[in-house]
Point group: C2
Chain length 523, copies 2
């Protein structure tokens, strides 16, 4: 099926349901379909053909939602760009995917002029927002005026391009924590089966309001574009993350469900204005895109008073691979034991088969001690990387996608990731999994954020190091933090060096960039 | 994905949940997987190769459930046979699909001896039930002893055959209401996407108990094999339909959900022992496989005190196409208005795109008066008929499967089927839709069952005729029933002939066989 059909369904069954709220303006599903159809005709008018890539560089907004649907309707492949990328990175991706049309927030005009200073395939730019406020680097037009002109021309019937389930829908470039960016191809089937499985797993319905707070160019949020629409639910958008604005949105728009990045959640629940608001409509907070510390989960449950589910996924898998939803008999456990399960990485998402295997591909025992690598397969798994047959082949083994994530598995079938394969620290012959040490650091009252990583060591091979950000108005030194860890961890796991930073370096999607921490800070 | 993975998931996440109850014996998911793996090895040992057809002729039972999974695990295509077929029909199907292995209830030994009197490809029979009670027509073995031998050999690890999503999983021969039986091919993807969509639409979970009361060889029930297992729910089986046994099963096993055929429901709710039982666990009764009269729905709601959903589907679509689930705002309507929506054929099932179109393929208005033909497409639609490229091509137009069902559509997007295209009666230039007349007849207190059909008429082309079955202890003659109709219908819709029968002729799946009614009864 074409992903367009999820919007078609909402427009037919729920034409008067509010589809999206932006800046207090509501658009219903009948109107949203008309706008997306007009947008798709704009793409066609620019000569975009089925299978062709269209890139988008934008903050969260209704236009992003519409771009996802217009591209699907036109049979084009949408390539969402990370807003934190610099000109050189953007140019590389645009060259790699060969997009001739770019949709961009006009605030990026300056940056884009730099991007297209060197030749790319980009011929046209459709500008979101204040049109004409900047000179377009290439031939440009206002997206809003283009859509309005098409709507005026009389919408009429719109027949989306017919694409098979295995036609490409999206091209997401991985965020660059590992070398050169690769385009992850996702098909209409990948994304639609994922959306259908979330509808089931999370019990989504018309009554749901989803907050697009995490970036819409990132799959931790983007999957909900299709799932929430499919259910006839309501989208609300926050253009750029800021903790207070996010908290206000949750309260004001009576958000029922959202998926946030742990660092966002951390900043939100620890913000002085977090408490005392009315979050009664909020039924579920999902956290994904990076590991989370149990202490932060405790605070989430406490501040929001709603349910919490840990998610784990990858761009390559549309993205969910596990959810920490509780099985029926676990819901009868005391609250603290339930919390322990909720903090695990989770049990397999309904749409995937998941195994944890040793180096020979044999499944490891569910003893919660033996560590193996997670591998997965299913209808939500990418067919591979754009124009990278060798990297595609290297990602799969015996038909399974190797995730590169190391995990243990418990007797109930819940996995817990202990580290990225490449982030695991090998010190004096012992494996140290960085998340275990980070979880201990997060328990210290002075610590706002922490990251644990390896630095080369002449004697031990690698040594355990940490970077921390302290809470405002608190104080702690390295000796004190090391002593705190020593009381809770085996000696070889205790950080030998602790750097105190004002903030941790991050990728555009909010993941901590451990690679950038390895160089010791001056002084 | 291979459908086997739904069982694998249940066995990993819910090993101790009861998977199936038969004759009071419970089997948990760990055990069910071990048995199905052993069964799959039995198939392999008989030389069954991926893609090969395996036929099954059996009443409902755990063995049928196991056969679905064993075939999937071995990569074979299961061909469920209708138990009402006669030797000649069975021979035709076995010849058409070329099965070398047949799984059969030993009670069918006599019939099968007749079947294989003429040559078929069948080489082996695996007998379900009392082994040795009958002479096997071909080389035979006891299924249970074969499974037991494999289990004894030590289950070990079992790796199901790897099949792609578009590999065939099932071959269902259409029930024969229209000429020569054709094998409908369903892929692993067809069936798994359908199951996933039912998990969402019906909110299935671990806590659900499904009653296999409708035949397991028919998709009205068979889809639940995979959906309920996927959720880790419980299956209970009734070998052969009998109203009191079905009512007892619902009560005793605390069934939460099931899909019954209207004729079954009719016989159940109108049975004197239906009332006074405890159906509190029952949350939802689905009805499918044939149209149902509103009066029967009223009685279902009254007797069972649970929710009711009308379903419509075809073998070619795995099967659901619509469900009469209420949209949120319709749940606020008064009970009688809600009932009116529940009695409609329903709004599109989550996994399909559905349109009602005129002869030129244009969508008809949602005015609830204009009649068009339903067409559908989506991941749950068959790739076609086994070895019948011409009939496959004829079934599709512009990529849509033409259902042959005539329907109106309302302003809320709910369709109501008015007739099969070929059952529509054309009398004196007027279209008469048989279901409309049948619904009126069902309102008459003396009528247990009714069917309306056409007979050729020299003057009018066709004339409206009816066949009815009266309730025990009631009385009514043709004049009285015609007068009852005349007070409620336009004159040209009133049956000209009414036959009184002891029972209506049916297909094996419980649909009324209108073709057989067209010949006037003697006397």
């Amino acid at each position: 099926m074409n992903l367009w059909s999820t919007l078609e369904r909402a427009a037919r069954l729920h034409p008067r349901n509010v589809a999206v709220v932006e800046d207090g303006r509501s658009t219903d599903y009948a109107r949203l379909r008309a706008r997306c159809a007009a947008f798709a005709r704009v793409l066609r008018a620019h000569g975009v053909r089925p299978g062709e890539r269209v890139s988008i560089l934008a903050w969260n907004g209704q236009a992003f939602l519409e771009a996802y649907y217009a591209a699907a309707g036109a049979g084009a492949v949408l390539n969402p760009l990370n807003v934190r990328l610099v000109a050189r990175e953007l140019r590389e991706i645009l060259a790699d995917c060969g997009a001739r049309l770019l949709i961009a927030d006009s605030g990026f005009a300056e940056l884009l002029r730099e991007v297209v200073a060197a030749p790319t395939a980009v011929e046209h730019v459709l500008w979101i927002g204040a049109e004409g406020s900047t000179g377009a680097p290439e031939r440009g037009a206002s997206l809003e005026r283009s859509i309005a002109a098409e709507l005026e021309r009389g919408a009429g019937a719109w027949t989306p391009d017919t694409v098979a389930g295995d036609a490409l829908a999206h091209l997401y470039y991985t965020s660059g924590t590992t070398g050169r960016a690769k385009g992850v191809m996702l098909t209409h089937r990948n994304v639609s089966v994922h959306a259908l499985a979330t509808l089931f797993e999370l019990g989504l319905g018309e009554r749901d309001t989803w907050a697009h707070v995490a970036p819409m160019f990132h799959l931790a949020d983007a999957w909900a574009t299709f799932a929430i629409t499919w259910a006839g639910g309501r989208h609300v958008v926050l253009p750029r993350f800021e903790p207070v604005a996010a908290l206000e949105l949750m309260e004001r728009e009576r958000v029922t469900i959202t998926n946030l990045i742990p660092t966002m959640l951390n900043l939100m629940v620890r913000h002085p204005s977090a408490r005392g608001r009315d979050y009664r409509s909020l039924r579920l907070v999902l956290s994904g895109g990076a590991p989370i510390a149990p202490q932060v989960v405790r605070e989430i449950l406490d501040v929001f008073g709603c349910d919490y589910v840990q998610t784990y996924g990858m761009t390559e898998t549309s993205p969910y691979l596990t959810l920490s939803l509780l099985k029926d008999h676990l819901r009868a456990l005391p609250a603290e034991e339930q919390l322990a399960y909720k903090c695990k990485t989770g049990r397999p998402f309904a749409a995937v088969e998941l195994q944890v295997v040793d180096a020979e591909g044999r499944e490891i025992p569910g003893d919660e001690r033996t560590v193996g690598e997670i591998r997965v397969r299913g209808e939500t798994v990418t067919p591979g990387y754009w124009n990278r047959p060798e990297e595609t082949a290297a990602a799969f083994r015996d038909g399974w996608l190797m995730t590169g994530d190391l995990a243990v598995i418990d007797g109930e079938g819940y996995v817990t990731i202990v580290d990225r394969k490449k982030d695991m620290i090998l010190t004096g012959g012992e494996n140290v999994y960085s998340t275990e040490v980070e979880h201990v650091l997060y328990e210290h009252p002075a610590i706002l954020e922490a990251a644990v990583f390896a630095r080369p060591d002449a004697l031990w091979g690698e040594r355990v190091c940490a970077a921390v950000v302290l809470r405002l108005g608190t104080n702690a030194n390295a000796e004190e933090l090391a002593a705190f860890c020593r009381a809770r961890l085996a000696g070889y796991k205790v950080p030998r060096e602790i750097d105190f930073l004002a903030s941790l370096p991050r990728t555009g999607s909010g993941k901590i960039l451990k690679r950038a921490l390895r160089e010791p800070v001056a002084g």
